[in-house]
Symmetry: C2
């Protein structure tokens, strides 16, 4: 028996993993179908529509072999929960597709699933199914299903001139975490962990859905999100820099105004960005605060095209962001990591 | 410019791929949300439940670099469509999570998605969303959502003593395709292609759902499926060998009765296996034939435990199957490939 096996326990086997999880996941006891059936089944509420999204985390890119697998599972669930939240829906279930190199410890796979379960359960979404396949590296694709209202989905094509631009939470957490990590600490699982601690704004999304015209999460960074929203809706969007609710420590950490912008605009933040009519602002703000969150006006939607940044009296085109994981970052080096998640 | 790039076209970029697909996928024009929004949304019918399943195909295991990407996409969709069919549900949408090594030709990724779209569209399920991430090898995780009736899901725990055991289609296609492939032709994409040609029994599943107690697909091979059904339901299941509807050419191809069994029992077939009360047999048979399919009684469910095979007057325990992709096959070498899909 190799030393690794002694330390990490037996390697994963498909049936075995399934049987163990069936006993530990609440969905296995209460669902319409048992865990391990061909598919999972969930009952929507009356006149609810199903909302579906998928996202993947890959070893060596989003997490490391040494990363805490519970945190990996929680992050995998969170990135998809954030997308469901952005459509104003209530998350209802999680399915996980795991790629596991032969010999991966069973405990690792189990912990990933239980980490996802724990993150989802906070918002009413349990792990209801999944699949494991051998693969060249560990990877976790998480699909979250939620239920929502067809008229409260906030399609990103629906921002309208005259709308206010608002964001939940604060701006720059992702950028800050990536900067603390930095290129030198890429191989350091503890430093990377901050990027995996994602808090999806599910409660905020649920109350905002019926009030907004358009909503999306800022997992691509604020600059890219504004650019995408503007392009999808065919509108001009102006972010007012002095209104931005910077994350704690961001002003201190930034060595220059330009670095502050990098941290604020290019880190994936998993906040919700929304466009809503001004006469709904007060109601939206109250609802988000009641839900335990924070909502800030950060700009406005106008006739025209493009994403713009207003600082004092100056208005300039938002610097081109364009993180594309297949091309590498055009963003400053410090602000990469979270963007890729 | 490298020769490879000239031949295969430009490498994949996330936004670019998304934009091109948004124009080519029907869901982008008719869905509740545009392709590329944070999530996709679908409307269930009145009192329908959502049925969800996920499965992955991995380069080097289920397909090769040289495999036709349309076929890879079609197979990825088909394996999940088969699971939704097994729950008597109508498939409604497909989301794909692609892992693509940096530099993968855009055309490859596009063809995978269009292959999945084409397979799904035959059954009313369009590609409604997805995600791309860089990865160490090409891989496709497909999640299919369907809508069905809570009382027609055929949980695999519900087979009852007295039920008949039935199967759609025939037995051994997967085994035959894997045998034609053989270990020597593992690297031959054309030989492997037969294993990717999967026809999910969606129409058969839809008519069987309301009539069966329990249903599942035979993607793990008939022997393993019967074993799983028997274990989940706590019943004894007897397969009557002389009733098995062998795939065309299987009898001729098998050099011995034992090889015939291997081909029939251990290849993944993507047929539906169901347990239903005898007084519904005639109705089920008529309904499947009307749906363009075939249904055969192949055994019976009894009090007791285990999966059994009856040949003539002899009854023996079904030989232990136990393909576990993480352990390697215990099945004969000729019958591996499809099992892994």
């Amino acid at each position: 028996m190799s030393r690794r096996v002694r330390h990490e326990g037996p390697p994963v086997r498909e049936r075995d993993l399934q049987a163990r999880l069936a006993r530990r996941l609440p969905a296995g006891r209460s669902g319409l179908l048992p865990i391990g059936d061909d598919a999972a089944a969930l009952r929507p509420g009356p006149s609810e529509v199903a909302v579906l999204t998928t996202d993947s985390l890959v070893e060596g890119i989003h997490f490391l072999r040494a990363s805490d697998p519970r945190l990996v599972g929680a992050a995998a669930a969170a990135v998809s929960l954030s997308d469901v939240a952005a459509k104003g829906a209530r998350p209802a279930g999680i399915v996980l597709a795991l790629l596991l190199p032969v010999g991966t410890p069973r405990r690792w796979a189990e912990s990933v699933v239980l980490g996802a379960e724990r993150m989802g359960a906070r918002f009413g979404a349990h792990v209801i199914g999944g699949d494991t396949k051998p693969g060249p590296a560990r990877a976790v694709a998480s699909t979250v299903i939620g239920f929502g209202r067809a008229d409260a989905l906030g399609p990103r094509t629906q921002a309208r001139p005259g709308d206010l631009l608002v964001t939940t939470g604060d701006v720059g957490r992702g950028g800050l975490a990536a900067r603390r990590l930095g290129p030198a600490r890429r191989g350091d699982a503890r430093a990377l962990a901050d990027l995996l601690r994602i808090r999806p704004r599910v409660r905020e999304g649920a109350v905002l859905g019926p009030l907004v015209h358009a909503m999306m999460d800022t997992s691509d960074g604020l600059a890219e999100s504004v650019r995408l929203l503007s392009a999808a809706s065919g509108v001009r969007i102006v972010v007012e820099e002095e209104r931005l609710p910077y994350a704690p420590g961001l002003r201190r950490a930034a060595r220059s105004p330009s670095e502050r912008r990098s941290l604020a605009f290019y880190g994936g933040d998993y906040e919700l960005l929304a466009a809503l009519p001004p006469d709904r602002w007060a109601r939206a703000h109250r609802a988000v605060v009641r839900a335990g969150g924070r909502l800030t006006r950060i700009g406005r939607v106008e006739r025209g095209v493009g994403a713009w940044l207003r600082s004092g009296a100056r208005e300039e085109a938002m610097p081109p962001p364009g993180w594309d994981p297949f091309r590498g970052p055009s963003a400053p080096a410090g602000a990469r990591g979270r963007v890729a998640v």
